[in-house]
C-alpha cells in the first residue's frame, strides 16, 4: 500500500496540469491508432495510459480486445457486435469500423494496461496482467510488481517478481539471489530468463580481451578462415584476395587479347589465372595479395575470445551454475518426453494394425483394403458429428457405429470376395487392392477431396502437462488406452470365448474343425468382420488427431503390414512388439536428425528390411504346427 501511494499521489497531483481527455489523445494520434505498428505505437499507448482520464483503462482494454471502433464521422466508439456506444457508455447510432490492432500492438497495450490491472480487484484481470508481463517483461514492470506484491501477496506475482529481479535489478547480489532461488527449475520461463544472461559475442583483439570473458578460443577450433574473417571484421588485418576480385583484376588488364603477356584464350584453368595474376603482381599492376605466411602471422598475434554481453561476472557464474543443473534435468526429461511420443506412436500403429493381426495374422488374408476400413471409420465419425452436434455424445455414438459399419463391410467383403480366394492367398492381395481403390474413389465421390473436420470433445483437448518439457496430449493418451483396451478384448475373445476357440481351430485345421461341427465359413466371416470392425474404431481415433481424407488409410497400410510382419504373424503380442519397435525406432531416428522426418521414415523401413532378413518370422515367431506353412 505504501509503495503504491506515491504513484497514486503523483497521478492525482499531475491531474490538474496534465489531465487530458482520452478522446482528445485518440484524436491527436488518429492515423497511428487506426493503422498501428508495434515499432511506432509505443508513445501513443504511453500517452493514453498517462492521460489521467479514468476512461483510459477502459479504452485501452477495448482497443486490445478489438472493441474500439471509428464512426464514419471519425468519432471513436466502443463496439459490441453491431451496436456501438460512446467511450462513456452512451448508445450511439451509426455503423462503426472496428479497429484491428495486430498481436504485437495488443501485447504493448496489454503491457500498458498492467499498471491498472495489477491492483484490480478482479483476479482474472490480475492474471492477465501477470501473463502480459511474463510475455514482454521490461525494467519498468519491476517497481509496479513489487508495489502490487506489497499490497497483496500472491505466489504467481511473487514468482514474477523474482524473474524480473533476475533480469532487471540493478543490484548484482539481488540478481544472484533470485537466480539461486529457482534452483534447477525446469520451467521454460526460468530458462528463458537465464539463457540470455549467458549470451556471448566473439571478438578478436591483438591485446588482452576486455570485459566479462567466457573463454578464449584457440584458432584450431575456429578454423583459419573463420578466424581470419574475424580479424578482418575487427579491422586488424587486410581482407584476403577473393577469386572474383582476382578475376576482375585480370579482366581489367586485358590488352590486345593478352593479360601480362599471357593470351586470354589460355586462361581456362585456375592455375593459368593464378600465374597471370602473379605476373601482374610482379609488374606492379595490381597490389600484392596477402600470402599464407602473412595470414599465419596475423592469426598468431591475435587473441580470440567469447565475451558475455552481461558485464557482472558473479551473475554469469550463478546463471551458468544454475543452467548446468537445469540442463542435466532437461536432458533426462526430454528423453522421457521422447519415450512418451514413441509409446504414443506405437499405440497408434498398434491400433491401426490390430485388425490386421486378426485378418492377416490369424486368417492369412492379405487385406489391402484394411486402410480403407480405417477410412470408413473416420468418415463415420465425421458423419455422426454432422448429425449429433455434441462432441462427447457424438463420440459415444461414433465408436460403436464405426465398428458396426466396418464390421458389416468386412462381412460383405469376406462373403463376396475373400471366401472364394482362401486357396489363393496372393490373389486376395490383388482383389482387395481393387476393393481398396474402389472404396477410396467412392469416398472421394461422396465426401469430396477436402479433408473433413472430426473434432475431439473438450475433455480430450489439451495436454497432460507434467512439466514444461514433458507433455502429452490427452487424445494420444486416449488412443493408448483404446489400444490397450483392444489388446485386452482381443485376448479375451481369442482365449476365453467360444468364438476365439473356434477361430483358432479353423485357423489350425479347417477340415478337422469342420468335422467337429464348427462352420469354417461362419467363423471366417465373423473373424474378418471383427478385424475390420476394429479398423473402423481405429479410424475414428486416428481421425481425432489427424486429418480425415480419403487417403487416410494409405498412410497406415504399409506400416500396419510391417508392424504385423516384424512382430511375427499370428501373435498379438508380436504385433504389440512390432508396433513398439517401429514407434521407438522412428522417434529415435527423428531425435538423431530432428530436421528431417522423412529420413526417419526411410531409415526405419530400411531397418525393417534388414531385420526381416535375420528374423524372417518376426520378433515373436510361432513354432510347430501353429506356425502354419
Amino acid at each position: 500500500m505504501r509503495g503504491l501511494l506515491p504513484l497514486l499521489l503523483a497521478l492525482v497531483l499531475a491531474l490538474p496540469a496534465h489531465a487530458q481527455n482520452v478522446a482528445a489523445v485518440l484524436d491527436v494520434h488518429r492515423d497511428q491508432i487506426e493503422k498501428p505498428s508495434r515499432t511506432s505505437i509505443g508513445p501513443v499507448i504511453d500517452a493514453l495510459a498517462a492521460s489521467g482520464d479514468p476512461l483510459a483503462a477502459t479504452v485501452l482494454a477495448a482497443w486490445e480486445d478489438r472493441r474500439l471502433g471509428v464512426l464514419e464521422d471519425g468519432t471513436f466508439v466502443l463496439t459490441d457486435g453491431d451496436a456501438a456506444t460512446s467511450l462513456e457508455g452512451q448508445p450511439v447510432a451509426g455503423k462503426a469500423t472496428v479497429l484491428r490492432p495486430n498481436a504485437g500492438v495488443r501485447g504493448l497495450i496489454a503491457g500498458a494496461l498492467v499498471q491498472f490491472q495489477l491492483t484490480d480487484p478482479d483476479p482474472a484481470a490480475r492474471v492477465a496482467a501477470i501473463d502480459a508481463i511474463a510475455r514482454n517483461p521490461s525494467a519498468d514492470h519491476l517497481p509496479l510488481v513489487r508495489a502490487a506484491l506489497e499490497k497483496s501477496p500472491d505466489p504467481a506475482l511473487e514468482r514474477l517478481e523474482r524473474l524480473l529481479t533476475l533480469r532487471f535489478d540493478p543490484d548484482p547480489a539481488a540478481r544472484v539471489a533470485a537466480i539461486e532461488s529457482f534452483g534447477s527449475s525446469l520451467s521454460l520461463d526460468v530458462r528463458a530468463a537465464l539463457n540470455p544472461l549467458l549470451a556471448t559475442a566473439r571478438v578478436a583483439t591483438v591485446d588482452e580481451p576486455q570485459g566479462n570473458i567466457a573463454r578464449e578460443i584457440p584458432v584450431s577450433e575456429l578454423g583459419r578462415v573463420a578466424a581470419y574473417d574475424l580479424l578482418v571484421q575487427a579491422g586488424l588485418a587486410p581482407a584476403r584476395l577473393t577469386r572474383e576480385a582476382a578475376q576482375q583484376a585480370l579482366v581489367a588488364h586485358i590488352q590486345n587479347g593478352q593479360v601480362a603477356g599471357i593470351p586470354v584464350a589460355s586462361l581456362n584453368t585456375q592455375d593459368a589465372r593464378d600465374a597471370a595474376y602473379s605476373a601482374l603482381e610482379a609488374s606492379g599492376a595490381v597490389p600484392p595479395a596477402a600470402t599464407e605466411d602473412e595470414v599465419d602471422a596475423a592469426l598468431a598475434s591475435a587473441t580470440f575470445a567469447e565475451i558475455y554481453a552481461e558485464p557482472e561476472a558473479q551473475v554469469t557464474d550463478a546463471a551458468r551454475a544454475a543452467l548446468r543443473g537445469i540442463d542435466a534435468k532437461v536432458g533426462a526429461m526430454q528423453a522421457a518426453d521422447l519415450a512418451m511420443d514413441a509409446v504414443s506412436l506405437a499405440s497408434i500403429y498398434f491400433l491401426a494394425a490390430i485388425g490386421l493381426a486378426i485378418t492377416f495374422g490369424v486368417m492369412r488374408v492379405i487385406n489391402m483394403a484394411h486402410g480403407e476400413f480405417i477410412m470408413m471409420g473416420a468418415y463415420t465419425g465425421y458423419v455422426v458429428q454432422q448429425v449429433v452436434p455434441n462432441y462427447t455424445l457424438s463420440l459415444v455414438v461414433a465408436l460403436p457405429l464405426a465398428f458396426l459399419v466396418t464390421f458389416a463391410a468386412g462381412v460383405v467383403l469376406e462373403r463376396l470376395v475373400i471366401r472364394h480366394l482362401y486357396k489363393r492367398p496372393l490373389e486376395t492381395l490383388l482383389a482387395t487392392f481393387g476393393v481398396s481403390i474402389l472404396l477410396q474413389q467412392l469416398a472421394k465421390n461422396i465426401f469430396g477431396t477436402q479433408a473433413r473436420p472430426l473434432t475431439a470433445p473438450d475433455w480430450l483437448s489439451g495436454s497432460l502437462v507434467i512439466n514444461d518439457v514433458v507433455a502429452i496430449s490427452w487424445i494420444r493418451i486416449a488412443i493408448l488406452v483404446l489400444a490397450l483396451l483392444f489388446l485386452g478384448l482381443y485376448l479375451f475373445i481369442m482365449r476365453r470365448t467360444r468364438l476365439g476357440l473356434e477361430v483358432r481351430a479353423v485357423q489350425q485345421n479347417p477340415t478337422m474343425a469342420a468335422s467337429m461341427g464348427i462352420s469354417p465359413g461362419r467363423i471366417n466371416m465373423l473373424a474378418f468382420g471383427l478385424g475390420s470392425g476394429i479398423a473402423g474404431i481405429a479410424g475414428v481415433a486416428i481421425g481425432l488427431f489427424a486429418q480425415v481424407t480419403s487417403e487416410i488409410g494409405q498412410q497406415y497400410i504399409v506400416q500396419s503390414f510391417m508392424t504385423v510382419v516384424v512382430g511375427g504373424v499370428g501373435s498379438i503380442f508380436g504385433t504389440l512388439a512390432g508396433a513398439a519397435l517401429i514407434g521407438f525406432l522412428q522417434k529415435g531416428i527423428e531425435w538423431l536428425n530432428p530436421s528431417n522426418t522423412l529420413a526417419a521414415q526411410t531409415y526405419m523401413i530400411l531397418f525393417i528390411i534388414v531385420f526381416i532378413q535375420f528374423r524372417p518370422r518376426g520378433i515373436i515367431a510361432l513354432k510347430g504346427r501353429a506356425a502354419g506353412d
Partner: protein, 431 residues
C-alpha cells in the same frame, strides 16, 4: 467435357433469350478453346478441382458477356491426375490435338516444371495461379500467384517488426516450394542479423500426421528467452494434424505465432479453428476482404457451384486475374495468337478483389498487395495488414546467385538476364 459443352451451349441459349435485355451481342463463330490443366483425381485434386470450377465459371461469365473477339469460349478440361509426367502429356495433347489458345493450369512446382518444356517447345501460353518459390521466368508462362517477395518476405518482416520474433522455426513439407522459400528466407534472415543458430528447419513428408515431437521441439526453442515464431510452408492435409497438435499443446498465438503460406480458407474448412484463433497466414487475398468486387465474386461463385458454403481462396483470385488479363490482351491484340497476346499482356490491369489493381509486369509476374490475416473462430481470416501493391520479383534478391539475375521479356526478351555481365544466360527455362 460433354458437361462443358452443355454449359457453353446452355450459356449461349440463355444469352439468346436474355440477350436483348443485356444489349450484348451473342458470341458466334468458331469457339476459342481454353485448356484447363488441373488434377481432378489423385492427391492434388483437393486443391485443383476448385480452380477448374473457377475457370469454368469465368468462361461461363465471359460467354454471357459476349465472349472474346465476338467468338464464344469453350473450355477443354483434362485430368492430369496428380501424375507429373501426365501433366506434360496432357499439355501436349491440349496444344496439338485440342488446339487450345491458352491453358490455365498446374498447382505444384513439379507439375509446372513438367509442363514447361512442352510449352516452350510448342510456344503455348499458360497461366499459373499459385504462390510459388520464384527463381523462374518462362516466356510462355504468366505467373499470377505470389513470388516469394510478395508473400514470404513481407510475412517475415511482419513477424520481426510487429511481433518481435527473434528466433524462427521454418517448418515445411519436403518439396521444392518450402525448400526454396526457406533457403531464401534463411538468407534474408541472415541479412537481417538473425544468427544461423536461431533458425530451426524441419521437413516432413506429405500428409504427415505425427506432429507431437516437432511441436515439442519448437516449443523448446523458447528456452533461450527469445521470441519464437513459426513460418509454416506445410502443405495441404498435413496442416490439420499440425494445428490439432498445436492446439493440444496449448500453444497460443501470443506465445508462439505461426504464420502459414499454404493455409487458406479451404484448408481451415477441415478443422475446428477455435483453438487456432490469432495464428496467421500471408496471402494476396482473403475471402473476408471487404470490397464490392469481392462480394460480387463470392456471390457468383456460390451461384455457379450452387453451394453457399464453398469458400473462395487466393489461387482462385489469381486465376480470375489471369483470365481477365488474357481476355483483355486478346481483345487488345485482336487475335488469340500467342505472340500477339503476350505482347499485349504487358501493362494490362485488372482490379484486385482486395482493392487496388494488379498489373502485369515484363517479367511475367503481377503487382499484388500482401495481406496478413489472423485466423478467426469461424474459419475465416481477419485482415490485419495490407500493403501497397508489391511488384513480383522472379529472381530473389537475397540469394547471391539469383540477385544478379533479372527477367524482362518486353525489352530484353530474356527470362534469365545477368545484370553484371549484361548477357542473357538462357532463353528457355531451367526445368
Amino acid at each position: 467435357m460433354f458437361d462443358v459443352k452443355r454449359i457453353v451451349a446452355g450459356a449461349g441459349l440463355a444469352l439468346a433469350v436474355s440477350g436483348a435485355a443485356d444489349a450484348q451481342i451473342a458470341p458466334s463463330g468458331e469457339p476459342i478453346k481454353i485448356g484447363v490443366l488441373h488434377s481432378l483425381s489423385g492427391t492434388m485434386a483437393i486443391s485443383e478441382t476448385t480452380l477448374k470450377d473457377t475457370v469454368l465459371m469465368l468462361v461461363d461469365q465471359q460467354n454471357k458477356a459476349g465472349g472474346v473477339l465476338g467468338r464464344p469460349l469453350e473450355a477443354v478440361v483434362v485430368d492430369p491426375a496428380s501424375d507429373w509426367p501426365l501433366f506434360a502429356e496432357k499439355a501436349r495433347e491440349l496444344l496439338t490435338v485440342s488446339d487450345v489458345d491458352v491453358i490455365f493450369g498446374a498447382w505444384t512446382s513439379v507439375s509446372r516444371k513438367s509442363v514447361l518444356p512442352v510449352l516452350e517447345e510448342l510456344n503455348g501460353l499458360m497461366f499459373y495461379p499459385v504462390q510459388y518459390e520464384g527463381e523462374e521466368s518462362s516466356k510462355n508462362v504468366f505467373y499470377t500467384g505470389a513470388a516469394p517477395n510478395q508473400q514470404a518476405i513481407p510475412a517475415v518482416d511482419y513477424m520481426m517488426e510487429e511481433l518481435g520474433v527473434e528466433k524462427f522455426a521454418l517448418l515445411g513439407t519436403d518439396y521444392v516450394y518450402p525448400r526454396t522459400t526457406n533457403n531464401i528466407l534463411s538468407a534474408y534472415l541472415g541479412d537481417k542479423g538473425v544468427a544461423t543458430g536461431d533458425i530451426f528447419t524441419n521437413y516432413t513428408p506429405f500428409g504427415q500426421s505425427d506432429w507431437s515431437k516437432i511441436v515439442a521441439d519448437v516449443v523448446a526453442l523458447g528456452a533461450d528467452g527469445k521470441q519464437v515464431g513459426v513460418i509454416s510452408t506445410i502443405n495441404g492435409d498435413a496442416n490439420i494434424g499440425f494445428y490439432k497438435e498445436l492446439a493440444a499443446a496449448g500453444v497460443s498465438a501470443e506465445d508462439l505465432p505461426v504464420i502459414a503460406f499454404s493455409v487458406g480458407e479451404e484448408e481451415l474448412s477441415g478443422l475446428d479453428t477455435t483453438d487456432l484463433v490469432g495464428h496467421l497466414a500471408a496471402w494476396n487475398y482473403f475471402e473476408s476482404a471487404d470490397t464490392p468486387e469481392n462480394e460480387a465474386f463470392i456471390d457468383a461463385w456460390h451461384a455457379f457451384t450452387g453451394d453457399n458454403s464453398r469458400v473462395t481462396n487466393d489461387p482462385m483470385e489469381a486465376t480470375m486475374i489471369g483470365f481477365k488479363m488474357w481476355v483483355q490482351a486478346a481483345e487488345k491484340a485482336g487475335t488469340t495468337d500467342v505472340d500477339a497476346v503476350r505482347d499485349a499482356m504487358y501493362g494490362q490491369e485488372v482490379p484486385n478483389l482486395t482493392g487496388g489493381t494488379a498489373r502485369m509486369l515484363p517479367n511475367h509476374h503481377l503487382t499484388k498487395p500482401v495481406l496478413i490475416g489472423e485466423i478467426r473462430d469461424d474459419g475465416q481470416f481477419d485482415i490485419i495488414s495490407q500493403t501497397e501493391p508489391v511488384a513480383g520479383d522472379a529472381w530473389t534478391d537475397f540469394l547471391p546467385e539469383s540477385a544478379v539475375l533479372e527477367a524482362d521479356w518486353q525489352e530484353l526478351d530474356c527470362g534469365m538476364y545477368n545484370t553484371e555481365t549484361k548477357t542473357c544466360v538462357q532463353q528457355k527455362s531451367n526445368y
